[in-house]
Each structure stands twice: as C-alpha cells, then as structure tokens.
C-alpha cells in the first residue's frame, strides 16, 4: 500500500464510522463505504489540509454528472489516491 493510501484510509476512518480495515483500494466511497456528500466534504477538507492541495471536487462532480467520466475515476479510494498524488506532483512542479 502507498503512503497516500495509508493517509487517506486513516482520514476516512477518523472522520466516519468506517473501520480502517474495511477500506480497500477498490472501495467506492459512496457505494461501498456509505460516505454521503456532507461526510465527503469533511474528507476533502482533511485531505486538502494533509496534502496541502485543493482537490477540484466541483470539477469532478460536474464531470461525473455530465457523464464525461464514471464516478470510479475519482471516488474509488485507489483512484482518489492517484488524483491526490497527481495534485501533489503538480504543486511541487509549479
């Protein structure tokens, strides 16, 4: 498991009723872990703070709602970690 996954799993378990052992890279935040939109905002805040980024959640939601991409692109834990890594890398490169 990556350090990003470990950090995200810790954040999810600390801010929801989900046990860390139940969080897998293939877990969908909403469908599998039962995280609702308000709880996701808490996670977004904690992730933004922890990694020093601003996840473009609105853009992600718009892409999903418009049918441009599947929700798995952003809201499966492993995919979310890849998005975070890309945002951190872009920040370092800037």
């Amino acid at each position: 498991m990556s350090a990003t996954f470990d950090a995200v799993a810790e954040i999810i378990s600390a801010n929801t009723d989900v046990s860390e052992s139940d969080i897998k890279p293939e877990s969908h935040l909403m469908r599998d872990l039962g995280i609702d939109s308000l709880a996701f905002l808490d996670l977004a805040f904690e992730i933004d703070q922890r990694f020093g980024i601003q996840m473009p959640v609105e853009d992600w939601m718009q892409s999903v709602n418009q049918g441009d991409v599947e929700s798995e692109e952003f809201f499966v834990v492993g995919s979310l970690c890849r998005q975070i890594d890309a945002l951190v890398a872009a920040k370092v490169a800037a």
Binding site: L38, L41, D42, A44, F45, D48, Q49, Q54, M55, P56, V57, E58, D59, M61
Partner: protein
C-alpha cells in the same frame, strides 16, 4: 440584532479580502419574544442563535470573497463553545476568518467578543453553491447594503 427575523448582525465594520477576515457589530435587543421563553426571569440569547450569528458573519465574508456569486449554506459545525451568558443589551463584536478555501466549500472560524471577552467561538463548514433562487440573491444583496458593505446599485 432582530432575533425574530434572524437579522443577527447590525453592521459589517471591516472586511480584509486579502486576509479573508470580517468584523461585524451587533447589539442584543433589550426585548424580544425569544426572551419570554429563554428564560423566564433570566433572559439569555440562545446558544443556537449565537452560532447563527457567527454563521452569518462567516457567510457574509464568503459572499464578499465570491463577489456574491455563490450562496454559502451552513453545512456543519464540529466545534462550538459557549463560554459566557449573552444578555439583553449586550454589545457584541463578531470576527470571522476563512481558514480553508476548498472546491465548492469553505471552512471558517468565528468568535463573538463582548467588551474584550470572547463569549463564544466555533469552526464551521459551508457549501458554496449557485444561488437557487433570484429572490434569495436579491435578499442577500439587500442585506449587504443594510450592513453597509455593499454599495447601492
């Protein structure tokens, strides 16, 4: 402050957009039906209305920072502390600060100060969404003018 109308602020006295801070002023009315129930013989501003006061100061700061393009809706408060009773006639200063600007949300901290003493403080999260109704946007504009930080026009 008009408790029955949820007009919790009397005036915005300072906005610093670069620091993302706002200061507002309000005086608790001497009389209100709220005090008839809360509490007989011992009138106090309910804590939930103090939280609303901090939320409104935070909300107007977010409106200013988004140039009134997004409506902030109170989403949660993980921490609210009521440190001292607030009574009829009390003069209040409300200070709000954005501590995180997220995508479609913001996290704020606020406190209410009475004569130099912090009587309550809170951390709050807001969703920032397009105005769901033009009447609401007009109302918010109108309140911005009443509070003195939005020019006529």
């Amino acid at each position: 402050m008009r408790l029955e109308y949820f007009q919790m602020l009397d005036a915005v006295v300072e906005i610093d957009r670069s620091a993302a801070t706002l200061k507002a002023a309000s005086r608790v009315p001497l009389g209100s039906p709220v005090f008839e129930g809360h509490f007989p013989g011992h009138p106090l501003v309910p804590g939930v209305l103090l939280l609303e006061t901090m939320a409104q100061a935070s909300g107007y700061l977010l409106l200013a920072l988004t140039t009134f393009q997004r409506m902030p809706f109170f989403a949660n408060s993980k921490s609210a502390n009521f440190r001292s009773f607030v009574r009829p006639g009390d003069p209040l200063e409300i200070a709000a600060k954005r501590i995180h600007a997220g995508s479609g949300y913001a996290v704020m901290s606020a406190q209410i100060i009475r004569e130099g003493e912090c009587v309550c403080d809170a951390q709050m999260m807001f969703r920032l969404v397009p105005f769901p109704a033009p009447e609401l946007q007009q109302h918010v504009f109108s309140e911005g003018r009443r509070l003195g930080f939005l020019e006529e026009g």
